[in-house]
Symmetry: C2
Subunit: 265 residues, 2 copies
């Protein structure tokens, strides 16, 4: 079992909910890495006995920092159609909601397909130096190997950058299938865009993240590396947003994702 598998091992309870635990290998500065929380919320849908099809989208709202320890995951199908199903998920601690999510699962039918957001031309992963997290960095950074092609963590602070774009190769350090929860976590691996754009480190935390899945399991079976790119769109009065994409090794766009982030002004 990888650390991801361990974090996703939710236990079904007699009342239909699941019990889960935070995982020390996925710890962030305060509470767990948001990506693993998103993955756990989606896992509660995937494990639900009534689930229809594969994940198409999820929006995860980080209501409060999750405390170390156990949580309860409640997934509720709100509406089941012929080929789509709508979900509401809450992760709770002490009876209080710490994370909420809505998700859509769908049965895909093969048909006309084209990527409009094309994978940028970049050197292969082997030609790009690995990002080494500084000593004492948060635990979850060790779960991924990141090779930034452009826009790595800024080393010269105090200077605004003209853009906030980061392009990087990324892969889980432990080999694992790139199922939807793994992709949801990968969608959150970028450092805060405001750090680059503003040239200063300041507390930042994702408020809400949406992930669209453009690929079923079969397009991901043979991919190890993903190319990941993120850009801020608006930085305004203590919040900013980011759009990002993940492409597989074949160059197919497999995830698009957006988030709005709190940033200490």
């Amino acid at each position: 079992m990888s650390f991801l598998d361990e974090a996703l091992a939710l236990q079904p309870q007699p009342d239909g909910s699941f019990s889960g635990r935070t995982h020390p290998q996925w710890a962030n500065m305060v509470g767990p890495f948001g990506g693993i929380t998103a993955a756990q919320a989606l896992q509660a849908v995937r494990l639900h006995p009534q689930v229809l099809g594969e994940p198409l989208s999820i929006t995860v709202n980080f209501c409060a920092a999750m405390a170390e320890g156990g949580f309860s995951a409640v997934a509720r199908p709100l509406r089941t159609n012929r080929s789509t199903q709508h979900w509401f998920v809450e992760l709770q601690q002490g009876g209080q909601t710490v994370t909420s999510a809505t998700a859509v699962t769908a049965i895909r039918r093969h048909g006309w397909s084209v990527d409009e957001w094309q994978r940028p031309e970049v050197p292969p992963p082997d030609a790009v130096p690995v990002f080494e997290p500084p000593p004492g960095a948060v635990a979850w950074l060790d779960r991924y190997e990141m090779r930034p092609v452009h826009g790595g963590l800024p080393d010269s602070l105090g200077r605004e950058h003209g853009d906030s774009r980061t392009t990087m190769w990324v892969r889980p350090r432990e080999a694992q299938p790139l199922h939807a929860p793994a992709l949801a976590a990968l969608a959150d691996t970028f450092y805060p865009r405001a750090w680059r754009r503003s040239g200063r480190f300041a507390p930042a935390g994702t408020v809400s993240m949406t992930v669209y899945f453009h690929a079923g399991a079969e397009r991901l079976a043979h991919s190890v590396w993903l190319l990941a790119e993120a850009t801020g769109q608006a930085f305004r009065d203590g919040f900013f947003d980011q759009r990002a994409a993940l492409w597989n090794e074949a160059g197919e766009l497999v995830v698009t994702t957006h988030q709005v982030v709190y940033f200490k002004p």
Copy 2:
């Protein structure tokens, strides 16, 4: 009262929910225009006695076509923090969920701000011809004046386009304040990107839409026209996604928005 005001006039009920009605002036092909449904879901939050601050984000999931007539809107604060508040909203008909939403409201603190997604250079609205909906078009199209600078409704079908981008000036036909529900509706005014990219009209319907609000009321007080731009990102096996933005007349980015859309393959 404008038609928007009429659609947003939700009536508080003794159990804390609101009752609303679909509005014939906002009708789409099947059920109401998704933008007005998003606006109504957000309005249930704005009218709630416990609301804190202004809308920061909303994700609206279109679970089923809304039938003409009444609906019940239930908004529930899931978590209230010092400066952010998390909401879950359901619109129901006959006890069944037809629309679900999560929203975040927040108290904004003025601080460092910059737009990374810059408004494209385009001619002023007066210099761009008005789009005239064809006779018998859906009612909601008459609620907006649209002046497409690029990527209007394709008149030559059967031919794929190299991109799916639309750039247009848009304003409500009835003068009204551009509050958050008005912007949520405006965020959904683009025709389906797949029509342009694939060169064929086929049934399409938004499954889930997210709107990030980058401006409080004061940045919108003096704006009539908005510049709106939308681009598809991935078209894959019966679904596609779209990213879009709205800028005010001063050139400030006031909304970024994304949606994933069903498209008959």
